[in-house]
């Protein structure tokens, strides 16, 4: 709700300014089967994970965020 996200360009901003881009995954996979796992089977970690966020209502850049999915603590 009021989660705040550290944007390297804009500082700490409310998460509502961002679009969530999901967990950070490799940009491509060598073959069709491993690509399926890459796209459709996210780690969905209970704990810290690297995520991409798009600062839609700010600098309009993608940023990398470390978020703990159990506590929502962000850094």
């Amino acid at each position: 709700m009021a989660l705040r996200v550290p944007c390297p360009n804009c500082g700490w901003r409310p998460s509502t300014e961002f679009a969530w881009g999901g967990e950070l995954r490799p940009v491509e996979a060598p073959d069709v089967e491993s690509d399926f796992a890459r796209v459709f089977l996210p780690e969905n970690a209970a704990g810290e994970q690297a995520e991409r966020w798009f600062h839609l209502l700010g600098c309009r850049r993608w940023i990398l965020v470390q978020r703990d999915t159990t506590t929502n603590r962000v850094r």
């Binding site: 009021a2 679009a19 073959d31 069709v32 399926f36 796209v39 991409r52």
Partner: protein, 834 residues
């Protein structure tokens, strides 16, 4: 101040400092409402805005807490829950029918025959309730955000002290209270009449006020909401005249004598203050009941019963006797008209309990204190809001609902207006006393809302809605356009009363449309071509400068999320357009691919900076020839060509493409020059019969061409094959999502978007299920009556039949439907290329 309340036909005089409840009480009113289920009389009880007993409707607004709401002259007050009136309520017969209406009765009764429930539902709804909601559209309130270091909720003693010391440390401090905050402390921003309704992650605290919603984003929150007085449970504990000490003292403070003869139960220090208040008001104290530890604290001259137990309160319309068993075991009934209970404190900590673990939210003062322990009696009302008695809890327990959360769900205790403020701890204690494990005897989860909140507040937008307008907006309005929302944009839907006129202008003459809302992106840099090649399934390598191509945008799962045009500008780079609603997603997608794949490319968003105007129709070229010196004939500027063209002195990037299926020029120009260009086109087009068209006409025009709208006609997991758009994917090419499509290559989709022809009807068919016999096999996503074809056409998706084929003969409600190929109009595209 004087003045009067209007209570039905009665006029209730007001004194200075009166709340609605104190004025009513002074006028002799003892029954403030009827209880939810059994229609029992309920009187003033907590006096601090916690319990549901004194909720009234004021000037048409239900659920007003009369005990804490200041009275104003001319208020129209209505008591709720009784029929025909609260004083004479025929439904009070329900109070004798407990056996027929046990807890959870609506889960078990009226089930067969099925029509019974519909009837019972109506009756139940009419007989219960806290008043009538005003009917009509809700006008959304406003909202604002407030950032500070410390938010203190509650302006009592502890809250003030916390706020003052935070401010003294130089922290920006905000103090809010649902009531008034007299004598606001220095250096603290005070928000009086702002009720905290929820604590959220962040932390963030939402405040509801008459001025709207305030979302506070503090670094730390201090909950100083104090404590309520404990709600004792014994038979007759809900009779009018039985009240908590604070209610009695509150009446005295406002110059109202709570009764003539009082029995007072004092089990903590605060109770002696209330006792003193009653004496000072001239109330005769029939007896004071205290535990052994406090026996010596009772003032001399009062009849004191040390160590006596409260057995019950008796009376019909109001309390007449307090029945006690004294220390020697003798039962006595003591006559009284007010039975005052001051038996301990129950911290108001719901806002604290709503916050997630580890959040900087703490309670201070009474809100942080331990609750007074209290044994529960074997009878009486636990939950005043929902009329749940100890017997109801026992029955639920016996039926197997053996934890506080299950008891809550089955009996609805804690679910009423007080949200468990009175009964929450009792429910947990009840489960604990019957041997429930610790995790089954916890207090039930606290969730927003902590206070009754008007719908206007809930409807308040949390963010400022930015209405995007093109530079032509004022011209559209001046032309009488009906303007409405289309995604984030305000766009013209129609210019006159006759959308067919706009439609005919496109098909027969020439028309103009504002398409400045399209997403517009310029891609430059050494790797721009590689970025385009990677980001889209479209064939790029053979796209010559000055040419455009239909662009499908797929995500990494191979799902279509947008479409548009790709234009090669040669050395200047690549120009990409997207749908109006998809521009943000398209930009995010392009930047994501550019970043993660390491392309040296710039993504320049021109959506706001550039306007776009579509000139379309068989006479479009004839119109533009008069406005430009640049060659625009068929050979120099063919279909899907891209040229620099100066139109009416405005430099435009022109694309010969159109959604509508006629000769069309999409003119992309500096936003600021939009009005000049539009005026020149409209003027030059007048002799040709030009009429601008809006979204209503466009809907029919694009449907005739069978073009799906991504988002309206598509689903989030539609692949190109499901949409019949395989031709827009360049086979054998590597791009984001190519692996995913490769995986699906061998199988054919289970669902397809197809063209539909209806026996009759139009736009109203949109959303209607498609059936074969009684089975639903799909849904209509778009429908319109085509004037030029004189047919009803549409798009929709259908599922493959179990035998493996797609159905071809369907029904949409009573309308026959056939699956037909698209486009419906000009399938060969001769008019488009003309």
């Amino acid at each position: 101040m004087g003045g009067r309340l209007r209570l039905g036909r009665r006029r209730v005089p007001l004194d200075d400092g009166d709340t609605i409840a104190s004025a009513m009480y002074r006028a002799g009113i003892r029954t403030f409402s009827r209880s939810l289920k059994y229609h029992r009389r309920r009187g003033l009880y907590c006096g601090t805005g916690e319990c549901p007993n004194c909720l009234v409707t004021v000037d048409g607004v239900p659920g007003v807490r009369s005990c804490v709401t200041p009275a104003r002259d001319g208020m129209r007050v209505r008591r709720e829950g009784g029929w025909p009136s609260v004083e004479r309520d025929v439904l009070s017969v329900l109070d004798r029918l407990h056996a027929l209406l046990p807890v959870g009765f609506y889960y078990k009764t009226f089930i067969r025959p099925r029509w019974m429930w519909a009837m019972a539902d109506r009756i139940i709804r009419r007989s219960v309730g806290l008043g009538r909601l005003p009917v009509g559209p809700v006008v959304a309130g406003t909202s604002r955000h407030l950032h500070c270091d410390v938010l203190v909720v509650g302006g009592g003693e502890s809250g003030r002290a916390a706020a003052v010391s935070a401010a003294a440390r130089g922290e920006r401090t905000v103090l809010c209270d649902e009531g008034e905050v007299p004598d606001p402390p220095e250096g603290v921003e005070v928000l009086a009449r702002h009720a905290a309704i929820g604590t959220y992650e962040g932390p963030m605290v939402s405040l509801a006020s008459g001025e709207g919603l305030v979302e506070v984003h503090p670094e730390r929150v201090m909950i100083a909401t104090g404590a309520t007085e404990l709600h004792p449970v014994f038979p007759g504990n809900d009779l009018p005249g039985v009240m908590l000490g604070r209610a009695a003292a509150g009446l005295v403070r406002r110059g109202v004598k709570p009764g003539v003869r009082a029995v007072v139960v004092v089990e903590h220090d605060e109770g002696f203050e209330h006792l003193e208040a009653l004496r000072s008001a001239g109330v005769r104290i029939a007896a004071v009941v205290v535990p052994g530890s406090l026996g010596s604290a009772v003032p001399d001259g009062l009849r004191t019963l040390v160590g006596a137990d409260v057995l019950r309160a008796e009376g019909r319309e109001r309390v007449r006797f307090a029945v006690l068993r004294d220390a020697e075991g003798v039962t006595r009934g003591i006559g009284c008209d007010v039975f005052v209970l001051s038996t301990g404190r129950s911290p108001r900590d719901d806002l604290l309990r709503m916050s997630a673990q580890g959040e900087p939210v703490e309670a201070v003062g009474d809100a942080a204190a331990a609750a007074s322990p209290k044994e529960m009696s074997t009878a009486g009302y636990v939950c005043l809001c929902e009329d749940v008695s100890v017997a109801d809890l026992e029955r639920a327990w016996d039926e197997g609902y053996r934890s506080s959360e299950l008891l809550k769900r089955y009996t609805t205790a804690t679910m009423g207006p007080c949200q468990g403020a009175m009964c929450g701890r009792h429910l947990a204690a009840f489960a604990a006393a019957r041997g429930a494990a610790a995790n089954a005897a916890r207090r039930t989860t606290a969730r927003p809302l902590a206070r009754p909140t008007p719908l206007e507040i809930l409807a308040a937008p949390v963010h400022e809605v930015i209405d995007k307008r093109t530079s032509l907006h004022d011209l559209h309005v001046a032309a009488g356009a009906r303007v409405g929302w289309s995604g984030p944009w305000l766009r013209p839907f129609a210019y006159g009363d006759d959308p067919q006129e706009e439609y005919r202008a496109v098909r027969e003459r020439v028309s103009v449309m504002d398409v400045g809302t399209l997403g517009k992106f310029l891609l430059t840099g050494p790797d721009a071509k590689d970025l385009v090649d990677d980001a889209f399934p479209t064939r790029v390598d053979d796209l010559a400068p000055g040419r455009a191509r239909y662009l499908l945008a797929l995500d990494e799962a191979g799902y279509v999320f947008d479409d548009g045009l790709l234009c090669s500008l040669g050395a200047e780079g690549w120009y990409v357009t997207s749908t109006s609603g998809g521009a943000d997603r398209m930009e995010g997608w392009l930047r994501d691919r550019a970043d993660r794949c390491g392309f040296r490319a710039h993504v320049v968003d021109l959506t706001a900076e550039r306007g776009a105007t579509l000139v379309a129709g068989p006479l479009a070229r004839e119109l533009l020839v008069g406005l430009t010196d640049d060659p625009i004939d068929r050979e120099a500027f063919p279909h899907m060509g891209v040229r620099e063209v100066t139109v009416a002195g405005v430099p435009c990037g022109a694309i010969r493409a159109g959604f509508v299926g006629e000769v069309a020029f999409e003119l992309h120009h500096p936003r600021s020059r939009g009005p000049d260009l539009w005026r020149a086109i409209v003027e030059a087009g007048a002799p040709l019969g030009l009429a601008p068209h809006g979204l209503d006409a466009l809907e029919v025009l694009r449907l005739e061409k069978g073009h799906p709208y991504v988002g309206q006609d598509t689903l989030p997991d539609d692949t190109p094959a499901k949409l019949g758009l395989e031709w827009a994917v360049h086979a054998g090419k590597r791009f984001a999502g190519s692996h995913a499509l490769e995986r699906l290559a061998g199988s054919s989709p289970e669902r397809r978007l197809v063209g539909l022809e209806f026996d009759r009807g139009g736009a109203e068919l949109r959303g209607v299920p498609l059936r074969v016999g009684a089975r639903i096999v799909g849904r209509v996503t778009s429908a319109a009556r085509s004037p030029i074809l004189d047919r009803s056409i549409g798009l929709g998706w259908i599922r493959r039949e179990p035998e493996g084929l797609f159905p071809e003969e369907l029904r949409a409600d009573r309308v026959g439907v056939r699956v037909v190929p698209t486009p419906f109009y000009d399938p060969a595209g001769d008019r488009l290329r003309g």
